[in-house]
Amino acid sequence: MTAEAAHETRMPERVALTGADCPGVRPRFAVEQGQRVARGETVFVDRARPEIAFAAPMAGTVARVEYGPRRTLGSLVIAREERDDAVTKRPEDVRAALLARGLWPAFRTRPFGRIPDPDAVPDAIFVIACEPDPAAPDPAAVITQAGDTFARGLKHLTRLTEGPVWVCQHPGANLAPVSDRVRVSDSGRRPAERTAAAHVHRCRSVADTGTVWTVGYQDVMSVGALMETGRFDATRTVMLTGPLARRPRAIQTVAGADLRDLSAGEVTLGVRGLRLFSGTPSAGRQAAWLGRDHRIVTLDATPPRRRPAHRTWLGLRAETGPRPIIPSDRLDHALPRGIYAAPLMRALAVGDAETAERLGCLDLLEDDVALLSPLCTSGADYRPLLRRVLDELEEAR
């Protein structure tokens, strides 16, 4: 964990809002290609829930508007202009402000990982200020650097729920003063105990009933800034790292930044085959744009070519079939305490939603099971398997 916060700001030439960050949203665009937008201006709303607005992370010109499959969002790209004007409006009610000013999509429901309904009231809100990956920027340093915007943001979050607001942090000094509404949950030592799921499972499990929301600590700082200044601030502190990073370090940028712009001039010279990841190769995704929940940008080398297809000893061609899940000890370190890895992996592998629900899969989202895949002999990626089971359970509700 790097103790220092970022000293350098890199504004990308282009930013994008992408479908991967807006799960289940079908957009109704408020702008068109070529139009100029100010920072914080609404660029589209959710067609099904028009109260939920999505805002431009920086001022510029709309360069591209694309639909994804089935009229979901593909991407909306904004090219930067020198003039950084921002929508400034003093907000009053916090819920109305977050909805109208583009910060509502920062929340994710558990179970299912959706953007919450405009009038929903969660049983608790979890502010995720802990990082499973030690390469990520230190949340405490980032929060300290920004003064009291984090504490202010927390205060506003307490108005969205009647339950507690949990600050999930690494062990150490409290990131916020504890009160009857704001509580602190310390992470354990293992990476699996630093995931959002570990805190949710321990403090307010939604495996059986209820709904909680999670929100990233940098989004909470954006909430604090919006409520204080009336301006939309999508500043992000991310770590540039990976085998090809010439100078691994934390930098400040904006949400949805173009990863090529961030990595320009940062790649070790003379190396070909750069692959850019938002997040880490195992827990993130290969992407062109910085994802909402990612605080790491990995500059990875192209992997060595896969070995050719298997052959049996007699030289006959063989297809790769399903491989077994061998329930070794190390799998149990990859999920939060109280969720049994091997039985859950078996249930996910065969799509047994009922068993997976009983084993507590509703406390989990894709990122929480990313640690399983590199440890499992089957080589399966459990993120899409979990998503399939969650979708099935959501449909049945």
Binding site: D208, A318, D329
Partner: protein
């Protein structure tokens, strides 16, 4: 993060089968048994290897799947516990039955629910009345320690299972005989690591591993584990029976956890 847990957290890259680690672990005890037994032991080892690998190859070809090298591990473990007075055809038959019925019909290693070498040895012990499984001896026990350490560090063998099995065995032995000379653990070491603690047959949850180990240790003592002559067959039968109960143990552990979770909210 301690060095050990970092090793565990990193693990090895996906798509690599841990069979090679098992093979490394099982080789020293097999080599010691080979050195002690000479020519007949070589015939035993070769028979077991050829039979196990031939069946792996046949099933791999039929299913258009890559064959697993784990048949070699099975063969090494079986060879160590096979007495020298067993004819080659007897061993070949037992290994065939064990490998096919305990592993390959389910789809290969990891898809079955009992330890494959334990199944082979049980077929050998039951099918031929003159066969009494070999006492592996102290040197085999010593030679299996480095492999045991390797498997423990890699997380392939659970320290919970091994400790609980030792405790279950010791307590049962103390209650029934009143004495517990440390020597009684020696003939059990090899079987405990390569049969009892095989993750394919053992429980898959951490509390379950404790219960499974205790049950297995109790069964080993019950079947005569503290007599050097009956110790190997006691471990084999205890492994098969404990393997059969392992899924039930896991179900109980999960039911308790679900109940606790529901009460907490």
């Amino acid at each position: 993060m301690s060095r050990l847990s970092r090793f565990r957290a990193v693990g090895w890259p996906a798509h690599t089968h841990p069979s090679s680690l098992w093979l490394i672990a099982a080789t020293p005890p097999a080599a010691v048994a080979l050195a002690q037994g000479g020519g007949p032991a070589a015939v035993t080892l070769l028979t077991a290897l050829v039979t196990a690998l031939a069946w792996e190859q046949i099933f791999a070809t039929l299913r258009h799947r890559p064959p697993s090298a784990h048949g070699a591990v099975t063969a090494l473990v079986v060879a160590v516990l096979t007495p020298l007075n067993v004819a080659a055809w007897e061993l070949g038959l037992a290994v065939s039955l064990g490998v096919v019925l305990a592993e390959l019909v389910f789809g290969g290693r990891g898809f079955g629910f009992v330890s494959t070498p334990a199944a082979c040895l049980a077929f050998l012990g039951f099918s031929f009345p003159h066969v009494q499984l070999a006492d592996p001896g102290a040197w085999v026990a010593v030679a299996s320690l480095p492999g045991a350490a390797l498997l423990l560090v890699a997380g392939l063998v659970s320290w919970r299972v091994l400790s609980a099995a030792a405790a279950g065995f010791a307590v049962t032995a103390l209650l029934t005989t009143g004495v517990l000379p440390p020597g009684v653990f020696v003939p059990l070491t090899f079987g405990a690591v390569f049969l009892l603690a095989d993750p394919v047959g053992a429980s898959a949850t951490n509390p379950g591993r404790w219960l499974y180990g205790l049950l297995a240790g109790f069964l080993v003592a019950l079947f005569g584990g503290f007599d050097g002559e009956t110790a190997p067959i006691a471990v084999v039968l205890a492994t098969l029976l404990a393997n059969t109960f392992a899924p039930l143990i896991d179900q109980i552990v999960i039911a308790v956890e679900v109940g606790r979770r529901r009460r907490r909210v």
